[in-house]
Amino acid sequence: MKILNCPLNGPRPVSEFFYWGEVRPMPNPATASDDVWADYVFNRNGAPGVKKEWWCHTPSNTWFIAERDTEKDVVVRTYFYEGED
């Protein structure tokens, strides 16, 4: 069983977590062109690398960020979201 470190609850089995994809800035829907919006809605950075991802610890509904190497499946660190860099 893979263990993920929840910033609130500590190390928990990965089956308690929900993965919600890479952290991506959203363009302003009111001003974005159709192309920019389609790019945001559909396109993904599918290549391997260390990515910042949204995860949720479902029993406690705790959302947080995990930095994870998607090639080696190694979590570098987890922390609460603190706004855009």
Partner: protein, 413 residues
């Protein structure tokens, strides 16, 4: 007689024909370079050579022939999809499968078994009815049947699934089949090789040369090749290749795991799929039960397998077939599935001239191997998308014109 045997074995007049030729060096240029020597890439090479006489073609493979998702799928062939685009496309593929063994002079062990997609809820049954009507409209053999038909076809099944999820009916697709997946890659590979196509294994693509929006060449671990046409058929590695040509796509990679049991006496003729229980199962010609579930829940560019998968899959499997509790799991593995948001593939031309995609094959690519080869060969030769694949173009996302195939994906995602 051993002496006589030796005489023939050592006689150069009776050489043992090799499946594939080995090529010491890459040439400096090819008419077409295909990345990926899996079923799809080799099928495209085969049809380029056989139907269009284009043989100055090289197939580059980082690993070995058929070692990716071609050798990792659960070998099911069917055409009971949901969208008109999907049904027409997969039906053409099922037709091509029929005489492939003869075409290759190689036994693919293509076995027509019949395919049941089980419904455990009213809403699932409604989707099945919808699929059956779309299928019938396009002449595909597909019908909704009651639980008694399932029980008759697979007498060992517990139709109530342990009381948790009683089977209310199923979508029955008589042409559903299984085939030996490795042999498909070998057959296409040998056919292409015999016609002059070069297959280079252990050759990794490091970069693609694009000048003014046009493909000019490919950098490989064994040297540079100049070419004007590149076909990318690399399944789970698609995003890595797209990065080289700077093309954005919605493709994301999740592993899909599968496993086989020890071989047991034949008891299961049809192929059974349950989306609600996340299970699909068939029995191979060797007696092994070939089983799969759904995608792993998060992105990963690797082929590690997990115990969680075996636990989850066997729990549901035992609800359907309680008597399997004493059967041992023999091995498990994973493949990298290139998923798309609408569960339809991404095929055809791209914004880069001379760069063609055969991708987004997620968890549904094996059955499409022949038709992909055929349509991609046409697309590469004519530099225009084959009519059967226009619904699968990369443009559809930018145009908000998706080809929603999720209802027909064989497993719950």
């Amino acid at each position: 007689m051993p002496w006589r045997l030796l005489r023939f074995a050592l006689n150069k007049k009776h050489p043992e024909p090799r499946m594939f030729n080995f090529h010491e060096k890459l040439k400096s240029s090819y008419d077409v370079v295909i990345i990926g020597a899996g079923g799809h890439g080799l099928a495209a090479a085969y049809y380029l050579a056989r139907d269009y006489g284009i043989t100055n073609v090289c197939v580059l493979e980082k690993g070995y022939i058929g070692g990716g998702n071609t050798g990792r799928n659960t070998t099911i062939v069917r055409s009971n999809y949901l969208t008109p685009e999907g049904v027409k496309f997969y039906d053409e593929s099922v037709n091509l499968w029929q005489d492939l063994s003869e075409d290759f002079d190689l036994n693919l062990f293509y076995a027509n078994r019949g395919h049941f997609t089980l419904a455990h809820t009213d809403s699932a049954l409604r989707t099945m009815r919808w699929r059956a009507e779309v299928n019938k409209h396009y002449g595909v053999d597909s019908e909704v049947v009651g639980p008694e038909v399932v029980k008759e076809a697979a007498p060992m099944i517990d139709i109530s699934c342990g009381g948790h999820a009683p089977i209310l009916g199923a979508l029955y697709h008589a042409p559903g089949s299984v085939a030996r997946h490795d042999a498909v890659a070998w057959g296409y590979g040998r056919g292409a090789d015999q016609r002059g196509v070069e297959i280079h294994q252990q050759t990794e693509v490091l970069g693609i040369d694009v000048v003014a929006g046009k493909v000019k060449g490919v950098k490989t671990s064994r040297g540079y090749i100049s070419t004007n046409k590149v076909l990318c058929a690399v399944a789970g590695s698609t995003p890595r290749i797209l990065k080289m040509v700077d093309v954005k796509s919605p493709i994301y990679i999740h592993p899909l795991q599968a496993m086989v049991s020890e071989p047991i006496k034949p008891w299961l003729d049809p192929i059974l799929v349950s989306g609600s229980l996340h299970v699909y199962i068939s029995q191979s010609a060797r007696g092994e039960l070939v089983m799969g579930a759904s995608l792993d829940p998060y992105e990963l560019h690797g082929t590690r397998s997990t115990l969680d998968f075996v636990e989850g899959l066997t729990t549901h499997m035992l609800e359907m077939f309680p008597f399997l509790s004493n059967v041992k799991v023999m091995r498990q593995w994973a493949g990298m599935a290139d998923m798309t948001p609408d569960f339809a593939p991404v095929m055809g031309k791209t914004p880069v001239e001379g760069f063609y995609l055969d991708s987004g094959w997620g968890t549904w690519g094996f059955k499409a191997t022949p038709v992909c080869g055929k349509t991609m060969a046409h697309t590469v030769v004519n530099d225009s998308d084959h009519p059967l694949i226009t619904g699968f173009s990369l443009d559809r996302f930018r145009n908000y014109a998706l080809t929603g195939e999720k209802g027909a994906a064989s497993v719950g995602h």
